[in-house]
Amino acid sequence: MRRALLIAVPYLWLLALFLVPFLIVLKISLSDTALAIPPYLPTLDFTEGWAGIWGFLQELDFENFTFLTQDELYWRAYLSSVQIALISTVLTLLVGYPIAYGMASAPEHWRATLMMLVILPFWTSFLIRVYSWMGILSNEGLLNQLLQGLGLIDQPLIILNTNTAVYIGIVYTYLPFMILPIYAALEKMDAALLEAAEDLGCSRLTAFWLVTVPLSRQGIIAGCFLVFIPALGEFVIPSLLGGSGTLMIGKVLWEEFFNNRDWPVASAVAVILLLILIIPIILFQRNEQKQREREG
């Protein structure tokens, strides 16, 4: 009985916060637009009883999903989002791993402070941090003024409103999500293993590749998923730092919703985005489970 209750809580949680909103979005994606409040038809009318619900169900169709396949815009936006998310994830890993490694190898009494430094930026609003990048990267911004002041460049570098700025924004914003799981994995590692490897003839670099990296694999995988999944649907960073050419599904969704007032098509875009995301999430879950089994 107690066991059933314990299991019921997370399932209720999922039901209320995931399944119900998903069903609402799915329902809208099967509707048609209308000039009304809310701007789609049909709406569910419970006052007519079963006949009303049946009539409602009959008016739903998959027209909006067919529409998405007819315009190359949508799949190209999905593809370009996947590409941007993948590249950002790799960059974040390249920046995050050395930081996590440095933290894990630092003397024990320093670690809490270093951890604090990684988490500290979260105390400032995410929006303010992205806006401050606009101030740093713009044509007359801090970076260009510095480089021009030092005489390194004559013309300002155009970074803001390009994909480069989007990568900088994503790497900066999601860096802690990469550092923390890798740090957690590295911190648990026994330093004696490295000594043993060196005793057996490994150079320090080979020991790093053969011992440290495999032992931090779980942390790397967790960090990559934590960066990749939110980066894929990212809207704020590309719309503030990106240029007109930055194509991401978050922006396409915004346009369907706001410019076309086409909630049904916007919902269809969102449903497909969710399906694309579910695959890495399932892989992530499996990975976690394997890890638990190995440890347990």
Partner: protein, 362 residues
């Protein structure tokens, strides 16, 4: 997301003092669009707590209104959007008996706004302006020479000009409802056209200049122009004049000028209206009537450099507002403007798709 929430200090204090009982009015207006001293004045005069939120695109406002239950008492959509929203049943008719300042309104503007809102039954004009070209005079002269066509759409729609201007930066409004009609005007076509062929020509024109546009955005250009980050913007008259004044205040040597395009300028009207489900329509009318007061309206225009539809306020306008033809165009210039109506859903989809293609290349 791009809106920031403004809560005047007095409102916050009043909220704390009388959380549950105080009467409230919630206003949703464009960003950088009022003298904030007026908000405090309204609270002092009426004792109503004013909660003032801002947006920077009609699309955001419209989506909130169509979702229903926005919680706002007064909203300020642009004419063409208002027209469609009236059809969707978003607004309630104004109770003119509560609007004692109705006599202040300017018939010239009332006649034009009646094309969006017949008999002006649902809305009162807040401000109006034109969509035109803002330039950093020194930088544009440096790039294109002294004879640069700063008062012509050729500046932004001729690829030869844009190719040179891209180095110093060009922004355009992220508003297909404004930029597409401008492109059509440059081509000598009807800005209100719904013909697929004409729209395709506008698309081809926009595609030819898109590589040189740094960003399509509807509010960033104010700061970007003022800081000297960009040298040309297709934007709203008063916003560009605000950029001019911010640059002058900062004394950073940046000089900004605004010109309505000589080929014809889009004239738009931002209208105060009350949503059908407004929590406090009575206070909403009080707020609208307060703004319709000649001196209050003049204070707002003097602050934001936009013309208003209030005839009586003109006596209180500063000389650099009423006397500036970029704000109050001459009768001749006024005749050279056009009004843009809403698109039906099918054409809207074509225009949005065209716009996505212009912005992303796909």
């Amino acid at each position: 997301m791009m809106t920031h929430r403004f809560l005047s200090l007095t409102a916050a204090a009043a909220l704390l003092a009388s959380a549950a009982t105080a009467e409230e009015v919630r206003v949703y207006n464009w960003s950088d669009y009022i003298d904030e001293a007026l908000l405090e004045k309204f609270e002092a005069e009426t004792g109503i707590d004013l909660i003032y939120d801002v947006f920077d695109s009609n699309e955001v406002l419209e989506t909130k209104l169509l979702a229903g239950g926005s919680g706002y008492d007064v909203v300020v959509p642009t004419g063409s959007f208002l027209q469609r929203q009236i059809q969707a049943g978003v607004f309630q008719k104004l109770d003119t008996s509560k609007l004692t300042n109705m006599g202040n309104m300017w018939d010239v503007i009332q006649d034009r706004t009646a094309r969006f809102d017949p008999d002006n039954a649902y809305s009162v004009n807040y401000m109006w302006g034109t969509t035109g070209i803002g330039v950093n005079t020194a930088k544009v002269a440096e790039v294109l020479g002294e004879g640069a066509p700063v008062d012509s759409l050729a500046l932004i729609f001729d690829p030869a000009n844009m190719e040179k201007l891209q180095a110093c930066g060009v922004h355009m409004l992220d508003a297909p409802d404004e930029v597409v009609p401008a492109a059509l005007t440059y081509l000598g076509l009807d800005p209100n056209t719904q013909e697929a062929d004409d729209l395709a020509k506008a698309e081809a024109l926009l595609m030819s200049v898109r590589p040189y546009v740094q960003k399509f955005h509807s509010s960033e250009y104010i700061n970007a122009l003022a800081n000297g980050d960009i040298c040309v913007a297709l934007g709203w008259s008063g916003d560009i004049l605000q950029a001019r004044d911010r640059a002058a205040e900062a004394e950073n040597g940046v000089e900004i000028a605004y010109n309505a395009p000589k080929e014809g300028a889009l004239m738009w009207f931002d209208q105060m209206a009350v949503p059908a489900d407004a929590p406090n329509p009575d206070a909403a009318h009080k707020f609208i009537n307060f703004i319709m007061d000649a001196q209050n309206m003049a204070a707002a225009s003097n602050y934001v450099y936009y013309a208003n539809g209030n005839k009586a306020s003109q006596a209180f306008l500063a000389e650099d507002v009423i006397g500036d033809p970029a704000i109050y165009p001459t009768a001749e210039a006024l005749a050279n403007t056009y009004i843009k109506g809403p698109y039906p859903p099918k054409v809207q989809r074509v225009v949005t798709r065209l716009w996505t293609k212009v912005k992303s290349g796909i």
